[in-house]
């Protein structure tokens, strides 16, 4: 995963989660408080826009941290 793409994705994800970009470290937890339908749809859109990947939504909603989300994206990018 290229750093420029990761930075672009995290910026969009921060917007979707309604948090400051600085707060979005790998250990940031995705909870029922912040991981609602708007945030999930925003994350799907961000992954599509930055990586050109249509992420399987059932896998996306099971992510419980930003780290897990990044690992999912990394795996999907590797699978091409």
């Amino acid at each position: 995963m290229q750093e420029t793409e990761k930075a672009a994705f995290l910026e969009k994800l921060a917007g979707a989660l309604d948090v400051e970009l600085d707060a979005l470290h790998d250990g940031f937890q995705l909870t029922s408080e912040n991981w609602d339908s708007v945030a999930q749809l925003g994350a799907i859109a961000a992954i599509d826009e930055v990586y050109g990947i249509d992420v399987p939504t059932n896998e996306l909603i099971e992510c419980t941290s930003v780290r897990a989300l990044l690992q999912l994206v990394q795996r999907l990018v590797a699978e091409g």
Binding site: K12, D18, S37, V38, L41, I44, A45, T57, I61
Partner: protein, 167 residues
């Protein structure tokens, strides 16, 4: 009669201010809704709240990954107009199938914005008498939602004001 309610903070939709047609838009808004909403957060939030409210009134909620739920684009809001008030909805796909199953005769929407929060209520009538009462009940429920949102906002502003005085 079934009533679905949803609220969305308008400023959360500001991050979507990019050219219409992006990935989020395609998944959430129909082509006609995209034209009506443009990239205005207040319209996007209100339309999304209306979709959530309709899906709740149908008893499924909106689908993100669950195929048994109603998808955002399984419905098209209408009547946005200059005041951004979504009043009508055309059900398609899964939403239409669910509506048929539960015997929906009419769906109405009431929506608005109070202090930066978009709210929407959807009423689903399944009998002739419910159809007659739907508009009145929905208006009364919408007034209650507006009242509660105003009260919450007033309380929030008071607490901020007190905090500033304390500081």
């Amino acid at each position: 009669m079934r009533i679905g309610v949803d609220i969305e903070r308008v400023d959360r939709f500001a991050f979507l201010q990019r050219p219409v047609g992006g990935a989020f838009y395609r998944r959430v808004y129909t082509a006609a809704e995209q034209q009506l909403c443009g990239t205005l957060p207040v319209r996007l939030a209100r339309c999304f709240a209306a979709k959530e409210a309709v899906a709740k009134a149908l008893g499924t909620g909106l689908a993100i990954a669950d195929p048994d739920r109603v998808a955002c684009i399984d419905m098209e809001m209408g009547g946005g107009g200059a005041d951004n008030a979504w009043r009508t909805v055309t059900l398609t796909g899964k939403a239409r199938a669910v509506a048929r199953t539960i015997g929906v005769r009419q769906v109405e929407i009431a929506s608005g914005v109070v202090a930066g929060v978009a709210y929407a209520l959807a009423g689903v009538a399944t009998t002739a008498s419910e159809v007659c009462e739907l508009h009145v009940i929905l208006d009364a429920a919408a007034a209650e939602v507006r009242h509660r949102l105003s009260a919450v906002r007033t309380g929030h502003d008071l607490r901020r004001s007190e905090a500033r005085r304390g500081a």
